[in-house]
């Protein structure tokens, strides 16, 4: 077993190294700078812009946000010469812009992406790419009708160690028959709850922030913690679980669960829409189940995923992976056996690689690592899980009439 892995591993590393170097030789106009516009320049988008600043061949020339304070903050941080816009449609009208980075709250992702496609812009859009289940078909249709490059912020797809884990243990069948996949994400939001920066009502276009949401008064909690409110986000299932379920889809070659069932509660934050404590179960075609645990207390173990097969167990984290060949003896102990193979990486964020992949594909016009179809499929299980929680019922995908034209007849 170990000899086989070593041989595969060597080939994999050679392949990765050569692939990266060779990609530059295929890029058309590699010296041309890609001119970017940023839409929704809050915390996450500013992080993306900080990474892009350190990647060659791109230039931020326009910034859009409905909150002037953040818009100006982003301009001063990343491109003092950039044009500022309060309306993203005006930014999309700028013919100088090749591609846009969309980092708005979730409920704006799909509408802006569709408008950006119509304006012939390439797109890097944060996850979840859709806010509602029905948006998947709308976005898929728009993507299928365009020739633009769309990369969704499912950065696990560009993380080299996760790709390596797939190649070594999924693609070789080393795990045997996989029936059970556990995912979790634990974050402690309790300490920071209710502490928001000042929100200057005179500088925010609240109506534009609301978009498709029902009219409601300005509320700092809903602005700064928008992920916790159904009008703008979807809580842990669409914010965090979407990352791991995308890895499941990628590893297991699946796109949609058969069913979803969620139990959740507001033990900590009764003022929020989305539950702070939750378990969700998903049954997939392909003879396996996925569960997701999340709570907003106790950060021990953070986020991770464990695949259990008849021949072994694979744990994947953002800073590495560990494969355990099935032990000979059963044990009930705090200490795990030594892994058969373990890889740890120094830099635990694949977002930079993911942005680089996007820039490469803008030049080469190739399919990026996480195209729209991948993002649409990754958003759906969490949305089904939220539907289950909100309606307290088992949700069957067959009853939802879901389509995804973005795939254009292939499964990634």
């Amino acid at each position: 077993m170990s000899g086989k892995l070593n041989e595969t591993s060597r080939r994999l590393f050679v392949g990765v190294a050569l692939g990266t170097a060779a990609s530059y030789s295929r890029i058309k106009g590699a010296n041309d700078r890609i001119r970017l516009g940023a839409i929704g320049t809050g915390g996450r988008c500013q992080y993306l812009l900080s990474l892009l600043q350190n990647l060659p061949g791109n230039q931020l020339i326009a910034i859009c946000d409905i909150y002037e304070t953040r818009r100006t903050q982003a301009r001063l941080k990343f491109a003092s010469y950039a044009n500022e816009y309060g309306d993203y449609r005006k930014l999309l009208d700028d013919k100088e812009i090749d591609a846009v980075v969309i980092g708005t709250p979730d409920h704006w992702h799909t509408p802006i992406a569709i408008d950006a496609l119509a304006a012939n812009k390439d797109i890097y859009v944060e996850k979840p790419v859709t806010h509602k289940l029905e948006e998947g078909e709308q976005l898929g249709r728009a993507v299928a009708a365009s020739k633009q490059v769309v990369q969704v912020g499912m950065q696990q797809r560009s993380w080299p160690h996760i790709a390596e884990a797939k190649a070594l243990f999924l693609d070789t069948g080393a795990l045997g028959q996989i029936t059970f996949i556990e995912t979790h994400w634990y974050q402690n939001y309790f300490k920071r709850h209710g502490h928001y920066p000042d929100l200057d009502a005179s500088k925010i276009n609240w109506k534009a922030f609301l978009g498709s949401a029902p009219d409601q008064p300005i509320n700092p909690a809903r602005y700064f913690d928008w992920r916790s409110y159904w009008d703008f986000g979807g809580g842990s299932l669409t914010d965090l679980f979407t990352h791991w379920i995308d890895v499941v889809h990628w590893f297991m070659e699946s796109t949609l669960p058969i069913s979803a069932f969620t139990m959740g509660a507001h033990y900590l934050f009764p003022d929020r829409d989305c539950p702070d404590t939750m378990n969700a179960t998903f049954l997939y075609p392909g003879n396996f189940q996925v569960i997701f645990h999340t709570s907003l207390v106790s950060i021990l173990e953070g986020g991770g995923i464990t695949l259990r097969g008849t021949e072994g167990t694979l744990r994947v984290e953002r800073d590495g992976y560990a494969f355990y060949a099935e032990p000979e003896g059963y044990g009930e102990t705090l200490e795990l056996p030594l892994p058969t193979r373990q890889v740890r990486i120094a830099r635990n964020d694949g977002t930079k690689d993911h942005l680089q992949n996007f820039l490469d594909c803008v030049r080469s016009r190739k399919v990026p690592n996480a195209p729209a179809a991948v993002g649409i499929n990754a958003a759906r299980p969490g949305q089904m899980g939220n539907l289950s929680f909100r309606e307290n019922r088992l949700v069957l995908s067959s009853s939802l009439n879901l389509r995804n034209d973005a795939e254009r007849g292939v499964c990634a």
Binding site: T8, L12, L170, T172, G173, E253, E407, V410
Partner: protein, 176 residues
């Protein structure tokens, strides 16, 4: 110049021209069938093989295999052998039901993605979507294969039909 530099350059050049060009000899490849066990592709020597790598969990693969059903029916007498191989995890326990659901009329089995990559001449870091289609001539040379990612006209049934029609000699008329 250090010894490593020319070796690296050589490797980079090799990578710039991946060995996925058509006309190459297909490497040894075998897939597994529930009833027939390990089935080497060489078993179909003398026939034109239309091989399709799929996933039993991919919504597009069923319809693609229905195309193979039709093409096998249409071109079987002219020397076509359609073969389907599932590459998804757990395929070994899924193919039997899948074959029944899809009413497949040609050999269908499973292999690992790693095995498929070898036949497709892709490296472990190369990503490929399914379905992947490969046409192999009667002497075991790969005549055509789909692009690993993105659109490819070969996934269109009418394109495949035209290609096969041009490749295969017309069948002799049936005698009474």
């Amino acid at each position: 110049m250090r010894l490593g530099t020319p070796i690296l350059l050589l490797l980079l050049c090799a990578s710039a021209f991946p060995q996925t060009a058509t006309g190459r000899k297909a490497p040894y490849f075998a897939f597994t069938q529930t009833n027939a066990g390990e089935t080497p592709l060489s078993q179909y020597a003398g026939k034109t093989v239309l091989l399709e790598f799929v996933s039993t969990t991919c919504q597009y693969c069923g319809p693609a295999l229905q195309s193979l059903n039709r093409l096998q029916e249409e071109f079987g007498r002219r020397g076509l052998q359609a073969v389907g191989v599932a590459v998804n995890p757990n395929a070994n326990v899924l193919v039997d039901d899948f074959v029944k659901e899809q009413h497949l009329t040609f050999p269908f089995g499973w292999c690992t993605r790693e095995q498929a990559r070898k036949l497709l001449s892709l490296t472990p870091s190369d990503r490929f979507v399914v379905p992947q289609i490969v046409i192999i001539n009667p002497t075991g040379e790969i005549l055509q294969q789909t692009a690993p990612q993105g659109d490819d006209p070969l996934r269109n049934e009418s394109t495949l039909r035209a290609r096969l029609s041009a490749l295969l000699t017309p069948a002799a008329p049936r005698t009474k």
